[in-house]
């Protein structure tokens, strides 16, 4: 089983004056699958984004594979080694084709193959904003599989099954759980949480172990 360990110590993230994540300590062993649950606005998404450096007001230390992010090169390595499925795969300001999204995984062939398996292979020549929410989520899942094929060893997935139907949720959960990576997944989906080794709950920016 592949994967890198993720270690967070005293991670604090602010949105202006509001402290969205306060003093989170988390150790995820290499290859572990961890579900992050909790009410809306409890800081799950912010914590995930902090790992990728997308949240600017973040303090504390986050190490992936023992490596920090002091330099631009280390950030580049972090973003290569951590695949990301964003919560709201927002239809952007400008059109992007499905194939271009799959290409951005740096393993276009594997991503396209995954898209075909997930039933969205024929949509690759369509702009993303013309896809439905579920189709878009499958596209992003296929992209993440491509990222893993390109060498990512951690997958940070933010509600990756929220827009899928029940059958799709189960299938996507199987796919996510079978990837040879360390998985940190924000989810309200029981089926997905059940496939994880650990379930953590976030409340008001703090983290506690549930299972």
């Amino acid at each position: 089983m592949g994967g890198l360990d993720v270690r967070m110590h005293g991670v604090t993230c602010r949105h202006g004056r509001v402290e969205a994540v306060s003093g989170v300590d988390l150790e995820v062993a290499a290859g572990d699958r961890v579900a992050l649950t909790g009410t809306n606005g409890s800081g799950k998404t912010t914590l995930l984004r902090a790992v990728l450096g997308l949240h600017r007001q973040a303090g504390g230390s986050i190490l992936v594979g023992g490596r920090g992010t002091r330099t631009a090169a280390e950030w580049a390595w972090r973003r290569r080694s951590c695949a990301w499925i964003p919560q709201k795969p927002a239809a952007g300001r400008f059109p992007l084709l499905g194939a271009e999204l799959l290409d951005s995984s740096h393993a276009p062939a594997e991503a396209a193959e995954a898209a075909a398996r997930l039933g969205v292979g024929t949509l690759a020549d369509r702009p993303l904003h013309t896809l439905s929410g579920g189709q878009l989520q499958r596209m992003y899942l296929a992209r993440a599989i491509g990222c893993v094929a390109a060498g990512a060893e951690v997958l940070l997935a933010d509600e990756p099954t929220a827009a899928l139907d029940f059958e799709g949720q189960a299938e996507a959960a199987d796919v996510l759980a079978s990837l040879p990576v360390t998985l940190v997944v924000v989810t309200h989906d029981r089926a997905l949480a059940e496939r994880c080794d650990r379930v953590l709950e976030m409340a008001a920016g703090r983290l506690r172990e549930v299972r």
Partner: protein
Amino acid sequence: MNALATADVGALLQLVPVQRAGLALLLAAVGLPVIGVVIVGLDIMPVRFAMMHVALLGIAVGLLTGLDPMLCALVACALAGAGVAPLARTPDGLSGAMGLLMSLAIAAALLLLAVSGVNASGAFALLWGSILSVGSPDLVVLGALAAVVPALFWWRRRDIGLLLYDRELAQCSGVPVRALTAALLVLVAVAVAGAIKLTGALLVDALTLLPALAARRLGSSLKSITLWAIGIGVAVNLSGFLLALWLDWPPGPVLVLMAGAVVLAVHLVSERRTSPWRAPASASLPSSH
């Protein structure tokens, strides 16, 4: 007989200034609509006004220091473009920044002009070009833009496509987001400022923004939008220029009105087109996993 006073277009086309203007428009129509695509993609429509004022500030600095005013204007625009790049972090940071830039630049320019005792309208006049008065150096600049801008777009098409779609996704896909944004903004700033000088302030919109706005509706990817923008730019500019010659009207307004008519027509047509989100093929998950 037509009521309008029409000219013999064939005879006019023998004139060197007219030939130069036609060539300038053709070159501009290749490079500048691509700049327009960036302007639409980064949502910085007020960039032309901002750059007019920043260029005025540069001219004021040039007049005060004795350096070449146009060079100062271009440098000022390049610096302003690079300076606002960090504001692209937030989604609406850039469009706000353009407004701020415009106010600050015009205030600083007027202050400088007042202090230096230069006539403000004289400084503004330096900024106004006309397509019928382009010289050989101007043609070289337009030619360089026509070559460099599409080439950069082709070379970096994946990165630019991701950046214009979603900055964070681009960042996580290994795109050098900061450097690329700064490079695009500098290119936009310099191209717009240069084009104002070469073609006149009004014509810049017909050459950059309007083809891109129409193309945004017609294309479904960065590549097709860019190609549409260039195609519309070339078609509108050449036909508009010939029309302006024929009717003996000033080319600037004719071209802007023509490009504007194309934008309106495209919007009306694409309103009627429906784009169903349902896939023709099955979208269900086959259980192959």
